[in-house]
């Protein structure tokens, strides 16, 4: 079976990038609140979601890094 980069590494990389971007957007929103906030904006779901995606992304990138398996 040919060795190739795991799909889970690609998935982890994308989630990591998305997590950082969404987290950054959430933090930016704290200091620059939008004119029309979303419902339940006080929950700051974007920050929580960004952190979650970043952590999952790091975990998958680390666990399925090329050459590790």
């Amino acid at each position: 079976m040919p060795k190739h980069i795991s799909i889970w590494f690609f998935t982890g990389s994308l989630l990591l990038v998305y997590g950082i971007m969404i987290l950054a957007a959430g933090v930016w929103g704290l200091s620059h609140p939008p004119e029309h906030p979303v419902v339940l904006a006080s929950l700051h779901i974007d920050i929580w979601w960004g952190v979650l995606l970043t952590l999952i992304g790091i975990l998958y990138c680390w666990k399925f890094a090329p050459g590790k398996e």
């Binding site: 190739h4 998305y18 950054a24 929103g29």
Partner: protein, 569 residues
């Protein structure tokens, strides 16, 4: 398996994306193309290109199996159905999927896998001969690219309504991307991207039910709000309103759901539609092939959380009511079909909004990649190689597969533009697709479980079941009062008619197959080895620990499935 939806005539923008949202969408397109280019070098043989080298793990095959079905029309259409019909729409995810997926894994997969067939028409050729293969391959290939085009047009229309994007832009950018990554990497590329798309669909859509349930005050709070907003309507019970055609908004009786949807349509789609079965055939061994549909069923059971629940939450929390397409156009309001983007815009700010839209685009692309990769395989192996060039080198068929992928996408694009001009085509093609599913299931299941079934029996059963389905559909079209005979009630609605028509056409297929088989010469048992129950040695699992056996996990899934039916009865 799609509800009728998404036919707005005068689009208007629902959501505005910011720079970060556009960046998230753009990164997604770059990554799927990178995967396609990366996998190009690993798709040089026919087995690699068309069957992904048959080396997929159970998890990858299982998630891909589900993702190929989880298109964006599926997401948006059933969210809309949930707003319109309530939790009844969940039947299409539970009884309309779970038993069939488990049946595929436990009962049917050994025959598909041990026979080493590359496709469902390929199995029919081994079991019943060339005429059956030709009939199913031509109908599947034809309908697959047409359906792909219809989905493409509908998705482009959604992008226009939701984001204000130009229809031509949406059609060409998304379809060219799919054509590139599937033509380069074949089925392996399609499967890898489907797994990625599956994850994105979940992380993009899960925000809505989480925040929505907080806003509504949990399940009980949501139910109370729905009763308050829609007094007298029952939107939260699965079975208790199905005793009569007139007691529920779908106009359907429980017999139609159980026998039509739960048995014929569901089993027909999940066990014989090559679009989904192809993913499981790429599994690395028989145990992985049996586990893949069980893993798919497990996740399928929870898809209502991101599809049905947003529709129910919209009933509870939206300060305005959504209506049908015509009423929405007349009043300038919003239709059921926009419920998912409306809920997305309600809870998701910059960044999350881009992720949610990426989830919808990913859903569309996974469905389309599934269509074109299945089409390329059936065309190359079951039509081109079977009837034109039987003995060409392997590299020739791989090249044909790559070109066929591009051709399939171009035909889909042509269909999309055709539908744009003549919208009624959509209804006819969706009906046509349903004509083949139920009889095909009758043919395949008899082929696998009854060794007395013969080649002529299989062919004439398939043909007569299909023609009977067309005849019943035409009868109701020409004389709507015929509904009382087809669907057993004049009060039945479209969905009920589809259920019963599928049931009758399946029965006709089975009866004709049995009668013709009994009147024709049976095949020798040694010829049926690896194809039929009773003539096939299925590897024992006695040495495998119980927690690794597919039957163990299938039992757990069915117990959870039954518990969910009781909980939401």
């Amino acid at each position: 398996m799609y509800p009728a939806l998404l036919l707005a005539a005068e689009p208007s923008r629902l959501i505005s994306l910011g720079g970060i949202d556009i960046a998230i969408i753009a990164i997604y397109f770059v990554v799927v193309l990178i995967i396609g280019f990366y996998l190009k070098g690993q798709s040089s043989t026919g087995e690699d290109f068309f069957m992904a080298g048959r080396e997929m793990t159970a998890w990858i095959a299982g998630l891909s199996f589900l993702s190929a079905n989880l298109g964006s029309l599926e997401l948006m259409g059933w969210a809309a159905a949930a707003y319109q019909y309530g939790i009844l729409a969940t039947h299409w995810y539970w009884i309309g999927a779970i038993p069939a997926m488990l049946f595929l894994g436990i009962v049917m997969m050994p025959f598909y896998y041990i026979s080493k067939t590359h496709s469902v028409p390929g199995y029919l050729q081994l079991r019943f001969g060339e005429p059956s293969r030709a009939l199913s391959a031509v109908s599947f290939g034809f309908m697959t690219v047409l359906m792909s085009g219809i989905n493409m047009y509908s998705m482009a229309l959604v992008m226009k309504v939701v984001l204000g994007w130009d229809i031509n832009f949406s059609i060409w950018v998304s379809s060219i991307t799919v054509a590139i990554y599937v033509a380069l990497g074949g089925l392996r590329s399609a499967i890898f991207n489907e797994v990625l798309q599956f994850i994105l669909i979940w992380v993009g859509a899960l925000v809505i039910p989480i925040v929505g349930m907080i806003e509504a005050g949990g399940w009980d709070g949501m139910v109370a709000r729905i009763h308050q907003n829609f007094p007298g309507g029952d939107y939260t019970h699965l079975w208790s309103t199905m005793g009569s055609f007139t007691d529920n908004p779908m106009g359907i009786h429980w017999t139609g759901i159980v026998l039509g949807l739960g048995w014929v349509i569901s089993f027909g789609y999940w066990t014989t539609d090559f679009l989904v079965v192809q993913r499981v055939l790429a599994a690395k061994d028989l145990r992985a092939a049996k586990m893949a549909p069980i893993i798919g069923a497990t996740f399928k059971m929870f898809v209502p959380a991101i599809v049905i629940l947003p529709g129910l939450l919209a009933l509870a929390v939206l300060p305005f009511k959504l209506t049908g397409e015509t009423a929405a156009l007349a009043s300038g309001g919003h239709s059921y079909n926009e419920v998912l983007p409306i809920m997305l815009a309600r809870y998701c700010g910059p960044g999350l909004l881009g992720l949610g839209i990426t989830a919808l685009i990913a859903g569309f692309m996974s469905g389309m990649a599934g269509n074109v990769s299945a089409f390329a395989t059936v065309w190359t192996y079951d039509i081109y190689r079977a009837f034109w060039r039987k003995n060409a080198p392997d590299a020739h068929y791989v090249l044909m597969g790559r070109w066929c992928t591009v051709l399939g996408v171009l035909v889909s694009i042509g269909t999309a533009y055709m539908v744009m001009e003549f919208k009624s085509i959509m209804d006819y093609v969706q009906a046509l697709f349903s004509f083949f599913i139920a009889p095909l299931f009758g043919t395949v299941i008899l082929g696998m479980l009854w060794k007395r079934a013969t080649g002529p029996g299989g062919f004439w059963g398939l043909l007569s079941g299909t023609l009977a389905s067309v005849a019943m559909w035409a009868w109701v079209k020409l004389d709507p009062s015929a509904l009382r005979y087809i669907a057993l009630s004049p009060n039945a609605k479209d969905m009920a008619e589809n259920m019963y028509r599928a049931l009758w056409s399946w029965l006709i297929c089975v009866i004709v197959t049995v009668v013709v088989s009994l009147l024709t010469e049976p095949r020798l048992e040694k010829e049926l080895a690896g194809l039929v129950y009773g003539c096939t040695e299925i590897p024992s699992e006695a040495q495998v620990p119980i927690y690794q056996r597919p039957m163990f996990w299938a039992t757990i899934v069915i117990v959870v499935f039954l518990a969910l039916q009781i909980r939401f009865w």
